[in-house]
């Protein structure tokens, strides 16, 4: 798998040499911030997996990404403790980092739940006006062949 943080895609190479392009991890994480229950544990797993795989050779972009997107209180505390100088600039966009800097995992857990709740609500608001339109299309739908 090859990717650069900041690129919008990752290229995956299969054992047989075939390659395909995948949405970049930061974009995928954003796309998963929906109102669906199943997406939130997935976001947590995605960022944890990234942290686990890249922590030994982390770039500044990696650290920023983890501070913005980690949903695991203990890991957020660990990243903030290891890179406290990266937090102040990100606190305006993610206020819960102040709890990470203090090492307050219980407070972080509460704030992460609030953050998730706000994202779910934003997603609901986004889809609300589109729902009627999609319903209308659904009624008009006919099974058609491509081409």
């Amino acid at each position: 798998m090859s990717s650069m943080r900041g690129s919008r895609r990752t290229t995956v190479e299969m054992p047989d040499g075939m390659t395909f392009d995948v949405l970049s991890l930061p974009d995928l994480v954003q796309a998963k911030k929906t109102q669906r229950d199943k997406d939130w544990p997935m976001i947590r797993r995605l960022v944890e997996a990234d942290f686990s795989g890249r922590r030994e050779a982390a770039t500044v972009a990696d650290i920023r990404f983890w501070l913005r997107e980690l949903r695991t209180p203990e890991l957020l505390v660990a990243v903030a403790a290891a890179h406290p100088e990266r937090c102040p600039v990100l606190i305006p966009e993610r206020a819960l980092l102040k709890h990470a800097l203090r090492g307050d995992a219980p407070a972080l857990e509460l704030e992460l739940a609030t953050e998730e709740s706000k994202e779910r609500e934003a997603d609901r608001r986004y889809w609300e006006p589109l729902r009627a339109e999609i319903e209308k299309l659904r009624h008009m739908k006919t099974r058609t062949r491509w081409g």
């Binding site: 995948v22 999609i134 491509w146």
Partner: protein, 85 residues
């Protein structure tokens, strides 16, 4: 898709698997560049797979443009409305 030079990025559950996060996924979600040329290529690719449209909205460049102008210009909210095939 590759044979027909469709410009698309894998997203959704299959993309999560490729990033090492286990998931159960029965479909393939793609973010598709919404140009006429690309839609034409996609139609050919789907036709070669004998695929059928089973969900709304229809694969029409106007609907895709409403969702996303291009991969490079895609925004968080827009991406959620990308076509799922």
């Amino acid at each position: 898709m590759r044979a027909h030079r469709v410009r698309a990025l894998l997203m959704g559950g299959q993309a999560c698997i490729s990033y090492g996060a286990a998931d159960f996924s029965r479909d393939v979600d793609l973010a598709i560049v919404s140009s006429l040329q690309n839609i034409h290529a996609l139609r050919k690719a789907m036709a070669s797979l004998q695929a059928e449209v089973i969900a709304v909205p229809p694969l029409n460049v106007n609907y895709l443009r409403k969702a996303t102008r291009s991969i490079s210009a895609v925004t968080i909210r827009q991406r959620k409305a990308c076509a799922s095939i």
